[in-house]
C-alpha cells in the first residue's frame, strides 16, 4: 500500500512540475521583485529604502481607506447576487425540457465578451442625465425630473454594481453549466419520482453537487472584485469625488497618473494580496475542503 502511494505521488509530480515551474518563473519572480520594491519609496526611477515606512503610510492614507471601503462594499453586495443569479440561470438552462436554450445561453454569455470600450460608452449613455433610463422612468411617471445617476455617490455605486453583475453573471454561468454536465440526469429523475419539487431538487441535488465549483467561483469572484479596475475607470473614473474608486484604480493612479511612486504602489498591491489570501482561506475553510 505504501509503495503504491509513493508511486502515485511520484506519478503526480510529473504532471504538475512544468506548469508550476512556469508560474514560479513568470509570476513569483516578478512578485518577489515587487516585494523588495514595497520597502522603497521615491519617484520614477529614484528610490530610497524606507523599511516598513510604506506599510505605515497605508494606515494613515485616507485615499487608501476610501478605496478599501468602496471595494469591500462591492464585494459584499455584488458577489452573492451575481453568483446566485448565475447559478439559477444555469440551473434553468440545464433543464432537459426547456426550449430555446441555445439562444438564452448565448445571449446571457455575451456581456462578458463585449469590448470594454463599447460597454463603457453604453453604460454611460444609459445612465446619462437625458439617457434612456431616465426617459423610461419619466414616461412611466416614476420620477418627475431626470436623476443624475453618476453624480450621486450612492447611485454611482449602484450603477457600478449593476455593471459588474451585468458583465460577469454569464461568465459564472458557464462554469456552473459545464459542471452540471457531471451530474447524472438519473439523479434528478429519481428525485422527481420521489416527488421532490424543482426548487427542492435545486437545493438538495444541484447545489451540493456543484459545491467545488461554487467555491471556485466564489474565490475567483472575490479575487476579481478586490482587483476591480476596468468598470470603475471606464464608467465613473472613480467619481463623484472618489466615492467609487477601487484599490486597483488607486494602484494604477500611483503608478501611471500621479508622479509615479512604484514603491508605494507595490505596497498597496500587497495589501490586496493579503486580503484576497485571507478571504480565500476562509472560503476554503467554510466551503468544507475536508476530503
Amino acid at each position: 500500500m505504501s509503495s503504491k502511494w509513493n508511486k502515485s505521488n511520484l506519478m503526480g509530480w510529473q504532471f504538475v512540475i512544468l506548469p508550476s515551474a512556469l508560474i514560479l518563473l513568470f509570476s513569483f519572480y516578478p512578485m518577489i521583485q515587487s516585494l523588495l520594491l514595497s520597502f522603497q519609496s521615491g519617484k520614477g526611477n529614484v528610490y530610497n529604502y524606507v523599511g516598513l515606512g510604506n506599510y505605515g503610510r497605508l494606515f494613515s492614507d485616507p485615499m487608501f481607506r476610501q478605496a478599501v471601503l468602496n471595494t469591500l462594499l462591492y464585494l459584499i453586495v455584488q458577489v452573492p447576487i451575481m453568483l446566485m443569479l448565475g447559478l439559477v440561470i444555469a440551473y434553468f438552462l440545464n433543464m432537459p425540457s426547456l426550449k430555446f436554450k441555445g439562444f438564452y445561453r448565448t445571449a446571457i454569455f455575451l456581456p462578458c465578451v463585449t469590448s470594454l470600450v463599447s460597454y463603457a460608452v453604453l453604460f454611460k449613455s444609459i445612465f446619462a442625465v437625458d439617457g434612456i433610463l431616465n426617459r423610461m422612468l419619466m414616461s412611466i411617471h416614476l420620477i418627475h425630473e431626470p436623476v443624475a445617476w453618476l453624480m450621486d455617490p450612492v447611485w454611482a455605486r449602484v450603477v457600478i454594481i449593476a455593471a459588474i453583475t451585468w458583465r460577469w453573471t454569464g461568465y459564472n454561468m458557464i462554469f456552473y453549466l459545464s459542471a452540471m454536465q457531471n451530474i447524472d440526469p438519473s439523479v434528478y429523475e429519481a428525485a422527481s419520482i420521489d416527488g421532490a419539487s424543482k426548487t427542492r431538487q435545486f437545493f438538495s441535488i444541484t447545489v451540493p453537487m456543484l459545491k467545488p465549483i461554487i467555491l471556485f467561483t466564489a474565490i475567483i469572484s472575490t479575487n476579481g472584485t478586490l482587483q476591480l479596475f476596468d468598470e470603475v475607470v471606464n464608467i465613473t473614473n472613480g467619481g463623484p469625488g472618489n466615492s467609487t474608486m477601487t484599490i486597483s484604480q488607486y494602484i494604477y493612479n500611483l503608478s501611471f497618473v500621479y508622479t509615479p511612486n512604484f514603491g508605494y504602489a507595490a505596497t498597496v498591491s500587497y495589501a490586496i494580496v493579503i486580503m484576497v489570501a485571507v478571504l480565500a482561506f476562509l472560503q476554503l475553510k467554510v466551503g468544507g475542503e475536508k476530503k
Binding site: 503526480g12 515587487s34 445571449a107 460608452v121 458557464i174 462554469f175 453549466l177
Partner: protein
C-alpha cells in the same frame, strides 16, 4: 401549476437575454450611424456603415492586428489548456500534502494585481530578448493558478473508477491522462477554452507594454487608440468593436454544444 412556472422561467430568461443583448444590438446599430448620431443616442439603423468601414480600413491595419490577435489567442489557449489541465489532474488525482502546499503557493500568484508586477516582468522579458513577440504576450499567462484551480475543482467529480479500469487494461499514467481524462472532461475543456480564449483575445495591459511596433499590435490596442483622440469618431469605433467581439462570440457558438452534451454521452 407546471405550465405557470415554465412560463415564469421563460419570462425571466427573456428578460435576462434582452438586458444582456441590448449593448450588442446598440453596437450593431451604432456601426451604421455617424459619430454625432451615436453621441445623440440615435437608436435606429442608419446608412453610414460602408463609410465607417472604409474609414476604419483606411486609418488602421485591421487585417494585421486581427492576425496578431488570432495567433496569440489560438496558440495561447491551446498551451494553457494542456498545461493547466495537466496540473489540475496531477494536483487532484495524486493529491498529497506537498502538492497541496505547492498549489496554495501558486494561488498567491493570481491575487497580485497585474500593474504591480508589470515592471519586473517587462525587465525580465527585455533581458530574455523577447519583447515585441507573440511569445512575450503568451508566456506570462501560459499557465495560471486560476485555470489549474478550475480543472482541479472539476476533477473532484471525475469518476476515478475509469482510471482504475484503465490501469487494469495496462495503460500508463500519461495514456490515462490523454485517452481517459481528456475526453471525459470535454465539457470542462470547452468551458476553459472559451474563458481562456477570451482572456487572451481581450488582454490589454500587458500586450500594450510588451508589444512595441505598430505591426505587432493586437485588436484591443487598435480600438483603444481610436477611442482616445480629441475628437473620437464613434462610428468607426463601433465597427472596430464589432470586429473585435465577433471571434469570441464565434468560439462560444462552436464550443457551447460541448458542455451541454454531457459527460456520460462522451464516455460511451
Amino acid at each position: 401549476m407546471r405550465k405557470m412556472s415554465a412560463a415564469g422561467i421563460h419570462l425571466f430568461l427573456i428578460l435576462a437575454s434582452v438586458v444582456s443583448l441590448f449593448p450588442f444590438v446598440w453596437m450593431l446599430i451604432g456601426m451604421t450611424n455617424s459619430s454625432s448620431e451615436i453621441v445623440k443616442g440615435k437608436f435606429s439603423f442608419g446608412s453610414e456603415l460602408s463609410n465607417n468601414v472604409t474609414k476604419l480600413l483606411d486609418m488602421t491595419n485591421l487585417g494585421e492586428a486581427f492576425w496578431n490577435s488570432t495567433v496569440i489567442a489560438v496558440v495561447g489557449t491551446i498551451c494553457t489548456l494542456i498545461l493547466s489541465s495537466m496540473a489540475g489532474f496531477g494536483f487532484e488525482i495524486y493529491r498529497t500534502k506537498g502538492k497541496d502546499r505547492l498549489f496554495g503557493l501558486l494561488m498567491l500568484s493570481m491575487m497580485m494585481p497585474f500593474a504591480a508586477v508589470m515592471i519586473p516582468l517587462f525587465r525580465m522579458f527585455s533581458q530574455m530578448g523577447m519583447l515585441n513577440t507573440p511569445s512575450a504576450v503568451i508566456l506570462p499567462t501560459i499557465t495560471t493558478a486560476f485555470m489549474i484551480f478550475f480543472f482541479m475543482q472539476n476533477t473532484k467529480s471525475f469518476p476515478r473508477e475509469l482510471l482504475q479500469a484503465g490501469r487494469v487494461d495496462g495503460l500508463g499514467e500519461w495514456r490515462l491522462f490523454t485517452s481517459v481524462y481528456m475526453p471525459t472532461m470535454r465539457p470542462t475543456y470547452a468551458a476553459a477554452a472559451i474563458i481562456t480564449f477570451m482572456n487572451y483575445w481581450n488582454s490589454f495591459l500587458w500586450p500594450l507594454i510588451a508589444l512595441q511596433t505598430q505591426d505587432k499590435k493586437t485588436l484591443p490596442l487598435i480600438v483603444s487608440s481610436l477611442a482616445s483622440s480629441y475628437n473620437p469618431d464613434y462610428g468607426i469605433i463601433m465597427v472596430a468593436i464589432v470586429v473585435t467581439t465577433l471571434p469570441t462570440v464565434l468560439i462560444f457558438f462552436l464550443l457551447q454544444k460541448q458542455f451541454v452534451q454531457g459527460m456520460l454521452g462522451s464516455v460511451k
